[in-house]
Symmetry: C2
Subunit: 283 residues, 2 copies
């Protein structure tokens, strides 16, 4: 296994990509914040199927964290990440320094209204502005033919799809299924924060989402199902429930109180100790 080339400077990145492009190769991007797990690696594998070359980026984007959040504590281990990426068939790691992405005087923001507003947008008001800006920058820097995002961050995937449509990026956005542990817990870099007892509680989030979806498919009304799921999460040992809601799968608009009549998604955010977890499930 030869070591993965790591590029930090934009000029070097563009020079490398230009060579591939001149050869007519199709380029995929897998944007990450590092601390890679099997979920990220599944994105890389999907990207490989969609393109001739796979670029992964690692950038812990400060602008999508609120001051109270875990930007400083966010796990970082580039050497280990690079090893995993090389083993998974990634061709290039792009890991720019923070002051290269946001140099002195940086003043531009990209915002997406609508799908950004509820749920994560309500819990983390600046979050999707930071995401949209850095994703726009990565798409302009790398100009990939395809970019792969995990369905784990379902609302983020919708924000990115809207951004790409609205700004006319010539890129195909691919959503990849969530990779889960045996008890259903969605893999997340933040799972590393969980103690053993917290880890046991965490798995119940997915159980609640799954039973919510099953109840909706049986025809139970949205409002009753949501209330039942919230009660269930309350009893499950979570320290807080930010939200659990059934929403339109495309627009994230609220649904009427009755049975679901169109593609929907159950989305939730909870806290276990100090760790915030999100997950979602298709209906």
């Amino acid at each position: 296994m030869s070591p993965l080339p790591i590029v930090r400077a934009l000029d070097d990145l563009r020079r490398g990509l230009a060579v591939w492009r001149a050869e007519g190769l199709r380029i995929a991007l897998v944007p990450t914040m590092g601390a890679l797990h099997e979920g990220h690696l599944s994105l890389v594998r999907l990207a490989r199927q969609k393109a001739d070359r796979v670029v992964a980026s690692i950038f812990v984007n400060p602008t999508q964290f609120a001051p109270s959040e875990d930007f400083q504590a966010y796990p970082r281990d580039e050497a280990h990440d690079a090893k995993l990426l090389a083993e998974t068939g990634c061709d290039l790691l792009y890991a720019p320094p923070t002051d290269d992405v946001y140099p002195e005087g940086f003043a531009t923001a990209v915002t997406v209204a609508g799908v950004s507003a509820p749920l994560e947008g309500a819990s983390r008001p600046q979050h999707f502005g930071g995401v949209a800006t850095v994703v726009a920058k990565l798409l302009i820097r790398i100009a990939p033919d395809v970019a792969v995002f995990g369905e784990k961050d379902y609302q983020q995937l919708l924000v990115v799809r809207r951004l790409v449509r609205d700004l006319d990026f010539p890129v195909e956005i691919v959503g990849a299924p969530t990779v889960r542990a045996g008890d259903g817990l969605a893999l997340s870099s933040r799972n590393a924060y969980l103690s053993e007892s917290e880890r046991a509680v965490a798995g119940r989030l997915n159980t609640a989402l799954r039973s919510t979806a099953e109840a909706l498919l049986r025809g139970d009304p949205v409002d009753a199902v949501e209330a039942r799921a919230l009660a269930c999460l309350d009893k499950a040992g979570f320290s807080a429930v930010d939200y659990l809601e059934v929403r339109d799968a495309e627009s994230l608009a609220r649904l009427g109180p009755g049975p679901v009549d169109r593609p929907a998604r159950v989305l939730a955010a909870v806290r276990v100790g100090k760790t915030r977890l999100i997950d979602n499930w298709a209906v």
Copy 2:
């Protein structure tokens, strides 16, 4: 003179540009809102010197007009514009329909803080947001190697430079000198609104800017020179003066009250009857 090819659909545009790009040709963009005059044509000529192919765009961008402004009345004559562009050596006119640029559900905004805030930004609060968003879209749609903007809209040029730097667009931004009538009036599509008597008054804007710059170069203090220029504009017959200010030429930051000690720019916006005119002059 063969007629200028006019492209309206994004797919057609990208197909055409891909052919040029495959031939290794350098592509310049001259973004306009139509109602072309000698000022625009000078941008096309400059673009020709900088690239192998020149694309002009005509798009009267609704999002950079406030509801009270002249979006509906803004002069439109595409056939005449296309004739002028063909005679000036433009290779392609890109004229997308409004609902192609902003389709149903459009929800993304690009904003530039800092240089967008004062002057035009204070007079027209949504203006530069609309400009930044549409310029970002044009740069993503066309992906030119170089784009030419007039110094007539000096603050806009600074906003575009900041946008391009911040979002990492691989494009060279060229500012082109303002083209003026014999009495110094900067050419503008909005000059068409002026009556004969208003036209006579309009020329005095540039006179005031020029004497302001001369006084500053003589070492007169900024505050006194600004006050004198405002008094002069008041007496010149303008119906209103939105602003006349001496600012840092790069950041548009306010200068101290004393003599200028760095590159500066005098910028002004006035009204003649119902017509709003802007101009600026280097110090």
